[in-house]
């Protein structure tokens, strides 16, 4: 005799992740069109990505080429849109190339910190027990130390450079992911459809991969998009303080660090890289806020 189990009922709160791809993309743009802040954020991010991919072909000057005969030219002189710095390098070109560094750092950090934090969060939230206790103690301890200071100290100790700043940021950043994902997993575990799975004899890993992981997609995306801005500003701060990305690399924080000595004579050195950081952070934040609001209502609304 076979017993017919009822189909696993998906509670209304759970988003059906395997939607038609086409419709998901259409929905994305339809939602985006409703919010002008979301559109602005999206456009800024799009421009940023395009610049960081194609930047090396659109820069008017070599961003690393020093020419003392042209040093500290104000904007709009000698073909230099945003002027030149103390070594005669073209600031516009440097800012364009700096975008790439910011994007690489933001994305790599979120990838590393996000992956590691998510794994820890899932282990903690799904398997509970002493593992959970130990991991969450570690998270608590780390969260009780200022993020930017932690990144600074780690970076100062392990040394500067692009790779090391990413590592430092990731070490500082994974805890947020672990914390949030853990609480998401805990909440999901309590959902009726998971209980139903357990009751129908689906294995622990089956539940984890088929039911819990897909539903973590949304919180991970939201959190990642909100964190990238933090990472980009943190990197700029660390580089500004003389750690992080080192000269002559045209990181925006770097440029501000070098430019600050000329603040009384050449304002453009400190103005434009800062504006670049601000617009980038603004775009990422706006987009992240919009994404959170949209996906949140989607979660609640259906």
């Amino acid at each position: 005799m076979t017993v017919d189990f009822p189909k696993v009922p998906h509670t209304t709160k759970i988003r059906n992740v395997r939607k038609n791809r086409q419709s998901a993309i259409t929905t994305f743009f339809l939602n985006l069109m409703r919010s002008w802040t979301g559109i602005i954020g999206f456009i800024i991010i799009l421009i940023l990505l395009l610049i960081s991919i194609f930047g090396q072909w659109i820069v008017p000057f070599d961003p690393l080429l020093a020419d003392f005969s042209k040093k500290l030219l104000p904007p709009m002189t000698g073909g230099h849109l945003l002027g030149t710095d103390q070594l005669g390098r073209d600031i516009f070109s440097r800012i364009i190339m700096g975008a790439k560094i910011s994007v690489i750092i933001g994305l790599s950090t979120v990838l590393i910190a996000g992956t590691f934090g998510t794994i820890v969060g899932i282990i903690s939230g799904y398997f509970r027990g002493w593992v959970d206790v130990v991991l969450m103690r570690i998270v608590d301890v780390q969260l009780s130390f200022p993020f930017i200071l932690l990144v600074l100290v780690i970076n100062a100790i392990i040394g500067s450079g692009l790779r090391n700043i990413i590592i430092s940021l990731a070490i500082g950043g994974w805890v947020i992911f672990a914390r949030v994902i853990r609480s998401e997993v805990l909440a999901l575990r309590e959902q009726e459809f998971i209980t139903a799975c357990v009751a129908t004899g689906v294995s622990k890993f089956g539940i984890l991969f088929k039911h819990i992981l897909p539903n973590l997609f949304t919180p991970i995306i939201i959190l990642s998009s909100l964190q990238i801005g933090t990472y980009i500003i943190a990197e700029a701060s660390v580089s500004f303080l003389g750690f992080g990305v080192q000269p002559p690399e045209p990181a925006w924080g770097n440029m501000l660090n070098e430019g600050k000595d000329y603040i009384f004579s050449s304002w453009w050195l400190i103005t434009f890289p800062g504006i670049a950081i601000m617009i980038t952070a603004l775009g990422v934040n706006l987009f992240g806020d919009w994404l959170r609001d949209t996906l949140d209502t989607e979660l609640k609304g259906e």
Binding site: T37, D140, V141, S144, F145, P146, F147, I148, L149, L152, V153, I154, A156, I157, I158, G159, G229, I233, A236, S237, F240, L241, G242, F243, L256, K260, I263, F264, W267, I270, T271, P273, G274, I277, M278, I279, A281, L282, N285, L286, D289
Partner: protein, 305 residues
Amino acid sequence: MLDFIIKRLIQVVVVVLLALTVVFFLIRLSGDPTALFLPPDASREQIEEYREMLGFDRPIYIQYGEFMVNAVQGDFGQSLRSKEDALPLVLSRLPATFQLAISALILSLLIAIPLGVLSAYKRNSVFDRISVALTVLGQAVPSFWLGLILIYFFAAQLNILPSGGAGSIVHLILPMITLAAYSVARFTRFTRSTMLDVLRKDYIRTAKASGVPTIRLVGRYALKNSLIPIITLVALDLGTLLGGAVITEVVFAWPGVGRLLMQSLMNRDFPIVLAGVFIVALIYAVINFIADILYAYVNPQIRVK
């Protein structure tokens, strides 16, 4: 309540000790600092002699044990450069950091809470929209850059405020504004959304049905309900403020712990770094501890059992 306080105090101690441990090992694993004290052409014997003198030749767990035993007694050794005692040096810089951080905190709360409340009260008005736009912008501006811009305008161009240093209240103005800016944006935004949340609650409707005027409803009732989440956020953000203080201190050459810590990191002057980490972790843990107590005080569901 006493149980709660004791539990939290133990947590403070654990956090501080763990922070020290992690930084200690990070430093030791990152390389031998002896080389930094000697000229590049120092002979092998000289290096060895120096290592022995500083105790870097012994096994790391003995170094760690000795360090921790001394650390809990407040002895972090001497600065590798100036030979001053590390902890007293850090402590001597503490008042300046406190002055900066507390004044920035007060400034940001004084601006953010009324602004957020008013924004929620006049929801969707022009005032509200401008305030929301400013907070979004404020959260995107890196504080060190804001500091540079302020220096440019008020010191370089207008020449009415000093660009750095300390000594008088005038010196405090720019660093204070720089440090407060991000918090103002964040707190305003949060106050607004919390107030909007609270204003939708059933008990606000009850108060309204009792004939309470809107001004009193917002300023007296909803505000007190909002204070619980606001205090929580402010406590969580004090770390960011403290971190921001480090950067602000460097920008304005403000003689606080942050600037000292930065210089020591640059010079790999590790006794001072460790003493600095110790102090920062301690302050942060204590602030969180106070915030928890404050939280319990505002929330009668915790206070009265």
